[in-house]
């Protein structure tokens, strides 16, 4: 069967067929005949020309996989070419705007600037405490703080936009 894969920003065409004991794969013109098994749920053991590749695969969202192989991680998006292309062009970062998002759930212990303040790149904006560590969230660029969405004592979730610098 044919599958389209996007990895590291590039699209690759994949064709997998079973041939008795083996899988025959064509990938961007490269041809692999390999043995595949699944010793544990989510672990794919591939053997190609004697070389062993143990891949741990997690499907993080429909069609979006994270594969780790020899301590390296790959983010892979798969599409069935017969289906409609997913309209996955995200909104993208508005030029000139940079938002500061909470990297993890935690509590805002201090807000270091006010809305409208001018900040240098690297200046502290908000301090978030999680797991007993206080982490100063810094401005990713110089500019004006145009949004400031949190107050001291508030709890925030991972991904919440704390502030926006423009």
């Amino acid at each position: 069967m044919k599958i389209l894969a996007e990895v590291e920003g590039q699209e690759r065409a994949l064709d997998i067929e079973r041939d008795g004991e083996r899988f025959i794969v064509e990938l961007d013109g490269r041809r692999y005949a390999l043995e595949a098994s699944e010793p544990e749920a989510g672990v794919y053991l591939l053997i190609h020309e004697g070389k062993v590749y143990e891949c741990r695969v997690r499907e993080e969202a429909r069609g979006q996989f994270r594969v780790s192989l020899r301590s390296r991680d790959y983010a892979i998006t798969l599409r069935d070419p017969r289906r409609l292309r997913s309209a996955s062009n995200s909104a993208g970062g508005a030029a000139g705007r940079a938002s500061i998002a909470a990297p993890m759930p935690g509590k805002v212990v201090r807000v270091l600037v006010e809305r409208g303040a001018q900040v240098e790149a690297g200046a502290g904006v908000v301090v978030v405490e999680a797991m007993k560590m206080q982490n100063e969230m810094r401005a990713p660029k110089a500019g004006t703080v145009v949004e400031l969405n949190v107050r001291e004592g508030e709890t925030v979730n991972a991904g919440d936009v704390l502030a926006v610098v423009e």
Partner: protein, 504 residues
Amino acid sequence: MFKKILIANRGEIAVRIMRACRELGISPIAVYSEADRTALHVRLADEAYLIGPAPSIESYLKIDRIIEAARRSGAEAIHPGYGFLAENAEFARAVRDAGLVFIGPRPEAMELMGSKTNARRAAQAAGAPIVPGTTEPLRSLEEAREVAARFGYPVMLKAAAGGGGKGMRLVQSAEDLPSAFATAQSEAASAFGDPQVYLEKAVARPRHIEIQVFADEHGNVVHLGERECSIQRRHQKVIEECPSPIGDPDLRARMGEAAVRIARAAGYVNAGTVEFLVSDETREFYFLEMNTRLQVEHPVTELVTGIDLVREQIRVACGEPLSFAQEDVCWTGHAIECRIYAEDPENDFMPSPGRIAELRVPTGPGVRDDGGVYPGAEVSIYYDPMISKLAVWARTRGEAIDRLRRALDEYVIEGIKTTLPFFRAVVRDPEFIAGRLDTGFIERFNRRRAEAQTEVDGDAERDMAIIAAALASMKRRTETRFEQTDGRSATSAWRMAGRIAFTR
């Protein structure tokens, strides 16, 4: 010997202490917060008592609830572990007042050493050199500014009640002082309930070396040699070794004697650690502070001396004399420990809480893992993100690094980010292999790493990763098909099909 011991802690150290209890035939009692209902330390205990909501201030720091749990269970002694109430003299006193044994030093010694500023004065009195700095907490930002100007930048702000890097800030210049002072005070208040901070001159390229001491109630005070703890991020250790790669038995003897002198002066009993800064060039050493508890990194000392420190702690708390004299202690081989944190080393060691989807711990020759989690466990945002300590032992430092590299490569943790990839790079770093360590190691290492940008056998591996994802996707599709045709036995039907499709 005690019949029951309550462990006033959680995570790997609670598990570690329970193991020592089991080995001594003592029944271990756990306490837990609402966030820890299914935590490993609860699962491994004989009894477990809920002591409050998730935030530690409402549970693991609640002295009365912990003592009440000890009473209910009939425990005769309490082991505080490290962190939480381990260095809280009020707790030690409350335990004693409840007629229970506190497994650790007497509250008076904790008070003396617990205040970093008092401790500096005590060490000075015992004849140990100290880092230039204040012996009193700073009263104001103004005073901090004056003192810093007197010693010259860089200076180090430290929590008077603290330890473990909480409330500690390196200040490079006068402009950075106000924000660093505020953050250090606030962190100190939140971590130790005491906002006081003091200031020290920062030593250039210092090694952080500590001496393990042990004292019993019969006047015996012994040191168990040093641990090198120079590799730190945010002033918190991440890699520790025993012995120090500095490899200087004379320095060990001198530091050991100084540590024993300080412990004696403090009337110290049970396990403690005296921390020193050592100048790499001059081999001069300065007293930093004394930790009046078991250290996170105690396993490397155990591996090299063969002495079980927790077992010894319990025996000494029971009134027994030390099971060894100074001349019995010998150091064999080399041990290294890595602290596995739920943190993202690619993103400034930002905590990475979440569910551990997969966990495979290395075993085999010379490998020891002290973990506090299991596959499927949640790493909560409420507590320290350390999930495990991997330690190795071998005849030489070189063989120990070989073993550590092997063990790190075997280690599998999925679902959260961890410091494993960072350690895998460190053990391959020529500076680390050469033993050129100081507290600036990580900063320089990260610079070297960014410059290097190694590229490996990428093509085939990337292709295999894509193929694995495709197989997983094909499997999911089959699974869905089976579910649609035969709702009830979806999983088992798939499993059989999966076997046919993939394993034949």
